[in-house]
């Protein structure tokens, strides 16, 4: 149970750090990274919530998986947009 608690606290800590970064940083790459950290923090919280006395529950794990898929797609879109913004700045 101690390890569960440690996971929960570090997940919540990551979420807070990421939200702080996202709110204060103007750098595009920093914000993409912030979003990734936020998603990882949330995934950690979800995975801890899946662990119970009678084994693990598959549903939060499926949520996490969906979250990862969405994150990969959105990160790709964000990086493409950031590149286009930089190109438009150079012109």
């Amino acid at each position: 149970m101690i390890s569960d608690f440690a996971f929960l606290i570090s997940g919540a800590g990551l979420i807070c750090l990421a939200l702080f970064r996202l709110a204060t940083s103007a750098d595009l790459l920093m914000r993409v990274l912030g979003l990734n950290v936020l998603a990882i923090g949330i995934a950690m919280v979800l995975l801890v919530s899946a662990r119970g006395a009678e084994g693990t529950d598959a549903v939060p794990q499926a949520f996490t998986l969906t979250g990862i898929v969405v994150l990969v797609g959105v990160t790709a879109a964000l990086l493409a947009l950031a590149e286009r913004v930089a190109e438009a700045r150079d012109e």
């Binding site: 979003l35 936020l38 919530s49 549903v59 949520f63 979250g67 947009l81 913004v85």
Partner: protein, 469 residues
Amino acid sequence: MSDISLIVLLPLLAAVLTAALPRQAAAIGTLATGLNAFLAANLGRQILHSGTVTEAIGDWTAPLGITFDANGLASVMLAMAAIVGLAVSLQAAAGPARAGFWPLWMATLGALNGLFLSSDLFNIYVAFEILGLAAVGLTALAGTRASLRAAFDYLTAGLVGSLLVLLGIALSYSVTGRVDMEAVAMLTQSDTGRIALALIAAGLVVKAALFPLHFWMPGAHSSAAPAASALLSALVVKGALYLVLRLSLEGGAGTEFLRNTLAVLGAGGMLWGAWNALRAERLKLLVAHSTVAQIGLIALAIGVAGNPLETGLWQAAALLMLSHALAKAAMFLAVGRIAEALGHDRISGLNREELRPGPAEFAFAIAAISLVGLPPTAGFIGKWFLIEGLIDKGGIHWIALILLGTALSAAYLSRVVSRCLRGGPHVSATARRPPWRTGDVAALGLATGALLLGLAAALPISLLETPFA
């Protein structure tokens, strides 16, 4: 396959087709929009006739399976998306073809329809992701640096919003063990449940661009192309607002703290949006800030509706969503035409000698009348319901705030209308009129729709009155 799943599937299939066949995209897209309008009308008729229609996809019932739930509120929202979609498709099919518009718009429509019908929180999250990505694409379509930057900010804010929603949904699953709408009423019973509900609400507030988390929105809505702006402002933000209303109806209104916060934020948005619209120098920015104000008004209506939701007040919120969608889409299409005719969209430059006001200016004026809420428009009916309900309840301070917001909206909209429609000595005798374009027809059609809807408000109201499942 029933009508309900078809109305979600059809636009998504059309999105794939329009992406695969870019040359026929306009024809396929327009056809799909027309079919979608037909299906939405048919579904509405069915609901009026026999009440809420439910479908469990693949015969898997809740809590394990996903249910589609076509109730009166969902049907009004479907009709809203269908009507605005028809007008925007008309404008886009006639205008210069932008590669990518049709697949993105079709995906937006499919995601919206799925969102309106779905009774499963996780399915709603997926619909939000499709909606968010498609909407970001629509923003970036203009290709200018401002629009790309706005799209980046939009996607970042949207992702933070949906991650908060996901966290809330996961937390609600760990409390209740289910993710369908039945879970919402259980959530209000425990502290952890209320935290889950608050997380979902916070995510939705970001997505709906409710004050003070609207920072990403004016830039995105003002830098996109006119057809895209109309879709974003009229429909996409409504997705999140609809879900806020739906969650309150399903029992979420039991959390008094959230309800009060929503009303206060709504009032703040109404005043802040109006203040910024008064100071805006560009026409598109003025319209975008007016969306911030109108979203505030709708959120206020949902927030003050009480628990259990009082009929008049929550119906006012739904009617205001509908009327705002029609008026705001008309306004953005009209602004697109005005900017095209003038070559710029500075408000100070709307006084001109060489060009007489044309149909676009007229459409803008009618849409403005509906947004302010003068009779006989749809906006008037919505505000009437809202104020009448508040008088019964004794919420006199809310009424004062709504009236202040209304006065401010009249003030900022007349900045444009007075400049556009003024004749007199400063218009030279040889001034020409701008020629008619399809965009004018779409804008005027929507504005007339907002006007007529006020006269035919009995139809959406009777849809809203069909009992909830």
